[in-house]
Amino acid sequence: MTVLQLIFYAFSAVAIFSGLMVVGSSNPVRGALFLVLSFFCMAGLWILLQAEFLALILVLVYVGAVMTLFLFVVMMLSVNRVSVQEGFVRYLPVCALIVLMIVGLMIMVVGPERFGLTQIPMPAAFPADYSNMVSLGEVLYTDYVFPFEVAAVILLTAIIAAISLTHRQSKKHKSQNISKQIAVKAGDRLRIVKMPSEPKINPTGGQ
């Protein structure tokens, strides 16, 4: 086993473990932290694939920005821990069955006999001056300009959706309408209610 393989297995094992813990941990903050860990491991795997630019972006954007924000939200929401675990036992048999079926299928198909080096030969090593960023930049605005633009539109849509869903009509905003205040009449504010007078009570307290 080479060193590279050792690193690969270490990162993969931690990634799978933290992925499971994201779902399994009852504390949402811990879950978010495990998600950070799994992103980090994925970044490690991408570096092994020589996609160092994407790996760094993953760490910077997801770990650095998105997950930090996410952690803030989770902490502020203070999710009820009991409610998270409700229905776990009830749905376990069905879920376990589905998971077993999918994992079984994957084990049957995804393996060295189909994805091994004989089926898919090792790609040629890159030259020393190879830059991940340059090759990405070359195709991003040329071959992939159409998907790139559509992705940009998706982001725009997400912004519109997020703003329109969180934006409330400014009901909280209270202001004085001075002309209305001046023009007010007594009749608008004061209502005189006619009531029958109460029966007279004997001031001496006798019945």
Partner: protein
Amino acid sequence: MNFTMPVFSVAIPDIFMLCMAAIALLVDVFLPKKKRIITFFIVQATLVITFILTVSQYIHYPSPIITFSGNYILDKLAIILKMFICVVSFFAFAYSREYVNERHIARGEYFILGLFAVLGMMVMASAYSFLSIYLGLELLSLSLYAMVALQKDSVDATEAAMKYFVMGALASGLLLYGISMVYGATGSIQMFEIGNLLVNSTPNQHMIVVLGLGFILAGLLFKFGAVPFHMWVPDVYAGAPTCMTLFIASAPKIAAFGITMRILVEAMPSVQVQWEHMLTVVAVLSMFFGNVLAIAQTNVKRMLAYSSIAHIGYMLLGIIAGPNSAEGYSAAMFYVSTYVIVAAGAFAIISILSKSGKEFEQLNDYRGLNSRNPWLAFMMLLLMFSMAGVPPTVGFFAKLGLLEALVEAHLVWLAALALLFAIIGAYYYLRMVMYMYFEEPLPGASSTPIKLAPDMMIAVSINGVAALLLGLFPSTFIDMCRISLV
């Protein structure tokens, strides 16, 4: 590096729509609240002009063009799907105007997000690689989730949006996993290349592609809402604002049909036996569960949701028959596009009747509709007859075409099953008609005549009469479907 400049002119309708969406967004920001209706008119004008541009493309580009480095295709299928999508969305937005207005849903955002959803469908219609298919699908879905949730004061709508979002995300995950399998086997995400590479695939490649196909189909059927991936459909249809249900039930089905054709027929004909088997199971289950569960519903929106599951089952029959018969695919396309028109009409009537805060969605609300508004009841009758497949309406010809294709493909047992389920389905459509015509309004419910805005009346009339006229003169429409799928 070798790079050929993309032919931008073939994407003119999409580019125009994107520009107009951005303009509408900016205009909406600066409009005073009372003039927000202008946004609505910009959106509708955009749809009309896009439709005209697409029609002109139909004349100018007789042969398919693949451009944007294989990510984009303009062929007859794409053009005709785009035309259908524009028309149906135009009607969906026209119906929404009043409903959205009455319920204080953010009007500008609703129509702008709607326009982005239509753009997503246009991208799907002419996507020719898995990447653009996926991105188009996400653009569509993201807009739809937000549009469902826009009715912020309704708990049902929020719940529906949440369910729709979670299920949709799961479906996208499944689809992506399947795509990664196909990419792993072929090393390409472009439809044409995959199709070529898979013609003489090794057994190993074949096995991987079949697994990928399973996941891709699961993702697609989730979006279609076919059994066993149908759980979200009734909840979302019933919980969403009715105008939104109308939109979800209509145009996206056409776009989903488009990407299904691209993936199954153009990229994966080599695993046709496998997808035929999978789709057969799904189609039979959908027809069965859709029709049987619809009988038990008392809420009209839920009933129509189950009926949509059943109709998706019928549509899949056409795709199953496709490889072995001349008319299968065009029958499926005819079925889905006419179903969409009919479903839009039915949901439109529900949304028009839901006035002054009261939702008109229980089956009992429709008792004696004939005495309250005879024309509207007649339109509903036409739409229900069409869904049931009663002869002069278009639903009959759609089902007839499917059955013909099935018999031609030597799948008589499927045709017999489809007929059996259609008879079960006729029960609840005709029950609706019976309630409207032969029952009195419930005591306590108002029996006053219902008055409608003239523009709504015109739109519904066009929709209902289309169900009849397309049934009387179906040939042009059928020819269009045939042309697009040669």
